[in-house]
Symmetry: C2
Subunit: 409 residues, 2 copies
């Protein structure tokens, strides 16, 4: 395979035209970090300017008649386009961390008398920390597995909640969600999945998979911007029986009656807490609309092709230089990212950013994470980025960089 | 007093030029709702466009080196300009509701064995609901007072937490914070104050008042936009002994080491949970910068003058038409708002908005709330708005409007 082959793939790429939907003003930059902070859709810039200038600036408080249901409307769209969730089960709100906390706390309260929760020792920090905090507050044991696959043996009738990520934040490995959900349900435990690295990168079907609860961020493959609000999902059949721990005025049944007692709104709305961040929710809507135009099937197909190409090039170019691939080799078990392990990963990331105009993610202790967001990454980017990494590794570029950990995010 | 007198006050107003800092494109509109959703500062429009286009769109993930400390930096500025808080005690994060929850939960956990919490039955709904939810989860009694003044009798050594608003959301009455804090401290209880209607409208001195914990929104007198992120304050002396209930990766001591266990960051940073909403935090910074230029002393002086004028006109024009004033007559005990009570308040609000280009707030069951944000409200606005209300009341305009409660926020 040579670079011309990559160029041909770009020329034939049915998603290529969707790259035009994004602000991309530096063609030399190889951005391997769309899985950490997705790129800016052009329409988002316009819609935010409109929300700020017209809706807030001119219409002022009167715009609340348009805004009041926005978290649910955008949640429904996200459910339909990205999550495989029928209407009325998804709402855009708060951060991933706060949503995981709210859902996990409610699940634990709904399984009184059970003494344990199950998670993965390799899960993203905030997931593990949220659960550890709740376990400490409620005196529960945390059964921390090496990987989601061990769940069958770890779940019994003492377990209140099973919590995993659908796509592993480092390796990109896709969990077998339906099996986990089934094993948990058989033991009467609830399931909570974090889809931060899955939503917008792989085809998701929360309803069909039998997931109870889910949450995820919107600033990765959904391209909603830094710290954009997250979403949460509660399966319809559970909605009446779960009570959020945070009782807020936006979750109140008759909000503007401002009555004396909290009466949770019907459906998913009770999971709202405070006043929703309007421009953030609008940015989520804009990001999802780009995904909708491209379609999750095509996005997933290109994600598989991009990561397969990266694995092939890594085998050919990087393995001889001391790299190993820490992602599944079976593309159907891999999200839209490839983890390359190298003993000098940290300093190689610095070299890529500072010398080669390639932006990957470093993940401690030794992973260079190559995120290949299908809407904005070209086959040529994979080629160029890995070629530049090969060049840096060949010349031992890490020797030029400070090994002191700093702000390589 | 005639309208010419109001015009003269505007001409002599030292804050008049700061109105130019805002987008105001409809001079006929009388906006009495800056205490619900403050107006858009011109610089905010520019700064948001810059954050979106340059920092997100072009610099992408690399902008995190600038963003990572933003919640604390803007918190410090808010502390200095608005809250009377020395550095290191304020952080911008989440919503007011979530912040109240986090602070109240931590306070309750820090006072084990105490069986009650104290609040006001008239407080804003979200405050009461948050506390009721925590009380239910922890089996605590809620001692719900008619007003903060009863706190001396209600606080004893069974009380873990005392929680009030500094400015009442309907009447605008200012609580005697220092006395409440002192009574609570004498009983070993912690205090938590909501400053949503106080921050940016009255002079606040959290450090000097002896407040333990505080939170508030930024979209009212701080003009940060709909659903902009809130802030929270933890008194320095308490910071090491309080543990947030939500353990998130942004509150972790060595965040990017992504270690196995949650170790809370030193100082105020442990109160961060998920990834901060960057454009929201920037909008808070921009809003606070406008307040800083005008100065809280001048803002408070104008607030007193505006509400005093409104009370005077209401006495002269509206009292004969069946209105009563539900705000303190002593201006030093009143925030920057005046509550007018009328049996047809709901329909009169509709008439004001739909017929008279006056936008107040309706607050159930019978209050027309006139918010007079000092940076953007002219003396002529007070005159014109109340004159139009008088006209509508004289002609019984409510008879033209549907009494069914709808979306008058």
């Amino acid at each position: 395979m040579d670079r011309a082959a990559a160029e041909q793939l770009d020329a034939a790429d049915p998603l290529a035209r969707h790259r035009e939907s994004f602000v991309i003003d530096d063609d030399h930059l190889v951005y391997f970090d769309g899985n950490s902070l997705g790129r800016l859709p052009r329409r988002t810039e316009q819609r935010l300017a409109e929300v700020v200038r017209s809706q807030w600036g001119s219409r002022l408080i009167r715009s609340w008649s348009e805004w009041i249901d926005l978290p649910e409307r955008v949640g429904d769209r996200l459910g339909r386009v990205v999550l495989g969730a029928a209407p009325g089960q998804v709402v855009v709100a708060d951060s991933t961390t706060v949503n995981l906390y709210k859902l996990a706390a409610a699940a634990i309260a709904a399984r009184p008398g059970r003494s344990a929760v199950v998670c993965s020792a390799e899960d993203f920090p905030t997931d593990r920390y949220v659960l550890a905090g709740l376990a400490a507050q409620h005196g529960l044991d945390v059964r921390s597995l090496a990987a989601p696959e061990g769940v069958g043996r770890a779940v019994d009738r003492d377990v209140a909640l099973v919590m995993f990520s659908v796509v592993d934040y480092r390796s990109g490995e896709i969990a077998d969600v339906a099996s986990i959900a089934s094993a948990a349900a058989a033991a009467g435990a609830l399931t909570l999945f974090d889809l931060s690295h899955a939503a917008g990168s792989i085809e998701v079907d929360l309803d069909a998979w039998g997931v109870d609860l889910a949450a995820g961020c919107t600033y990765k493959y959904l391209n909603a911007g830094p710290g954009a609000p997250a979403w949460l999902y509660v399966r319809r059949g559970l909605q009446d029986s779960l009570m959020p721990p945070v009782w807020g005025w936006f979750g109140q049944r008759d909000q503007f009656a401002m009555g004396p007692d909290f009466e949770p709104a019907a459906g998913i709305r009770r999971w709202l807490s405070g006043t929703p961040p309007i421009s953030g929710v609008v940015a989520v809507d804009a990001g999802v609309s780009v995904v909708e135009e491209a379609g999750m099937r095509a996005i997933r197909a290109k994600g598989i092709a991009l990561t397969s190409m990266a694995v092939e090039l890594a085998d050919a170019w990087l393995a001889p230089l001391g790299f190993t691939i820490a992602s599944p080799r079976d593309a159907t078990r891999r999200g839209s990212q490839v983890a390359l392990r190298h003993v000098e990963a940290y300093r190689l990331c610095k070299a890529l950013i500072e010398e080669a105009d390639v932006v990957p993610d470093f993940r401690a202790p030794d992973v260079i994470r190559i995120g290949l967001s299908p809407l904005t990454t070209r086959y040529c980017d994979v080629w160029d980025g890995l070629a530049r990494l090969r060049g840096l590794a060949e010349e031992r570029a890490w020797e030029r960089h400070d090994p002191t950990p700093g702000a390589v995010t």
